[in-house]
């Protein structure tokens, strides 16, 4: 909706508080006792082996998965207004071309900005009219990522944003994520790729969650 505040007090304001969060799936404990406070301007990387529960954790954060114990608290009641969520699947329909896909995503998330410019920024210039069915997996992912180049939201939750993205794309994405954090957004993403220095990590393994590199335990 609006540009995140760049005031220094807003940058340290807690955006997300998790207390003793635990989740079980198919009689298997994914994680338990997960507590953390994530503030504006921070970048959180969630790591863990395949099946460790990274996607489930993100789905809990954005309110898609309700079967958990503990507290998951956002900073304001209308937090969904300020949420930019990219799911495990890119959310791209093959019948539609990149521009139509992006326009629909913008309409749903009430994001302003120029879709053409955003598509150009992710390297899809000239592909605006090509049905997504004719695009590669990486290009489909780029359609979804184009939302990061539109009007900024205060919280980014990205599930494996680097999947199927080439080297140049990874560099551009790194830069965009760091810029957003500097502008006061909270970025939470799952990947094995580290965006840059100062990234807080949350490692999920064997039912435990471990916070490293400067995050409060």
């Amino acid at each position: 909706m609006s540009q995140p505040s760049t005031h220094s007090d807003a940058e340290t304001a807690p955006r997300l508080v998790l207390e003793q969060l635990s989740c079980e799936r198919d009689d298997r404990l994914l994680f338990s006792g997960l507590s953390l406070t994530a503030s504006a301007g921070e970048i959180w990387q969630i790591t863990g082996a395949n099946g460790a529960g990274k996607t489930t954790l993100l789905r809990i954060l954005v309110g898609l998965h309700g079967f958990y114990e503990g507290v998951c608290q956002w900073w304001q009641p209308q937090w969904q207004q300020e949420l930019l969520y990219l799911g495990h699947q890119p959310g791209v329909r093959e019948e539609l071309n990149p521009l139509e896909n992006l326009r629909y995503a913008c309409a749903l998330s009430e994001q302003g900005g120029d879709p053409m410019a955003a598509l150009a920024a992710v390297g899809l210039q000239g592909f605006e009219d090509v049905p997504a069915a004719h695009l590669s997996a990486g290009q489909k992912r780029r359609i979804a990522l184009a939302r990061l180049w539109l009007e900024h939201k205060a919280v980014w939750v990205l599930d494996e944003p680097y999947t199927a993205i080439d080297q140049d794309g990874v560099a551009a994405l790194d830069q965009q994520i760091q810029q957003a954090a500097q502008a006061g957004a909270l970025v939470i993403y799952t990947s094995h790729h580290q965006v840059g220095d100062g990234v807080r990590q949350l490692h999920l393994a064997h039912g435990q969650a471990e916070v490293t590199e400067g995050g409060q335990p």
């Binding site: 309110g63 969904q80 799911g87 495990h88 329909r93 019948e95 539609l96 749903l108 998330s109």
Partner: protein, 222 residues
């Protein structure tokens, strides 16, 4: 409202570019009805007796057939997650989807029904009632079926479960829909029956999309 319009355009485009979704229910409707005179007998008096029921059962099954995949492709491609995490109320894009779906799958059934009614030897005087009853009934069928489709979207083979969930809820619409046509054939008053159909439509239009949105939330794991 701009969200609704954007969503409506998008849904119409998606459906328009997968013509099988539009043609299959229509083809099913035409085929079932054209088989009946062959199977029973082409005698006008016999056909006219069963025609209201046949028309309505075929329309009901055609609508249900079209609903199985209503949310599946959106779910597989991740669009559903986008929709459920969006700041707009899920009921807005869901309503647009239902409207688009009915416009491209339900409305063609209504438009072709006079031809099929004629094929079933219904008198020309009741064709208006046939169309009107389907015009009121098929959107209600679409919305009720969408509730079932939303609840079964997470399941791999939801087809039969969808039928089990939805068919009992279809029965009132079927009774009054076929009843209106039968009454017209017998020369009775149909306005009251059509009014009840209209009331069923008003009920489903006002509450159905909310139930569909809630069903999608449940299916996503809430």
């Amino acid at each position: 409202m701009s969200v609704f319009r954007a969503a409506l355009v998008r849904e119409l485009l998606v459906l328009w570019r997968s013509p099988a979704e539009i043609i299959n229910p229509l083809f099913f409707f035409v085929m079932v009805i054209s088989l009946f005179p062959l199977a029973i007998s082409p005698k006008p008096e016999l056909l006219a007796l069963v025609a209201p029921g046949v028309l309505w059962v075929a329309a009901l099954l055609a609508v249900m057939l079209s609903l199985d995949g209503l949310f599946r492709r959106d779910q597989e491609s991740g669009v559903l997650e986008l929709l459920l995490t969006a700041p707009v109320m899920a009921v807005v894009p869901v309503s647009a989807k239902l409207l688009a779906h009915w416009l491209l799958t339900g409305l063609p059934l209504v438009l072709i029904s006079p031809v099929l009614a004629h094929m079933l030897q219904l008198p020309d005087g009741v064709l208006g009632t046939v169309m009107l009853s389907l015009l009121l009934g098929t959107p209600a069928l679409t919305i009720i079926g969408a509730i079932g489709a939303a609840l079964t979207v997470g399941l791999n083979r939801g087809g039969i479960l969808l039928a089990v969930l939805v068919l009992p809820l279809y029965i009132p619409v079927l009774i009054f829909g076929a009843g209106a046509v039968s009454a017209a054939v017998d020369g009775g008053a149909v306005n009251g029956i059509l009014a009840i159909l209209g009331a069923l439509l008003a009920l489903t239009v006002s509450l159905g999309p909310l139930a569909v949105a809630a069903g999608l939330k449940i299916s996503s794991g809430n």
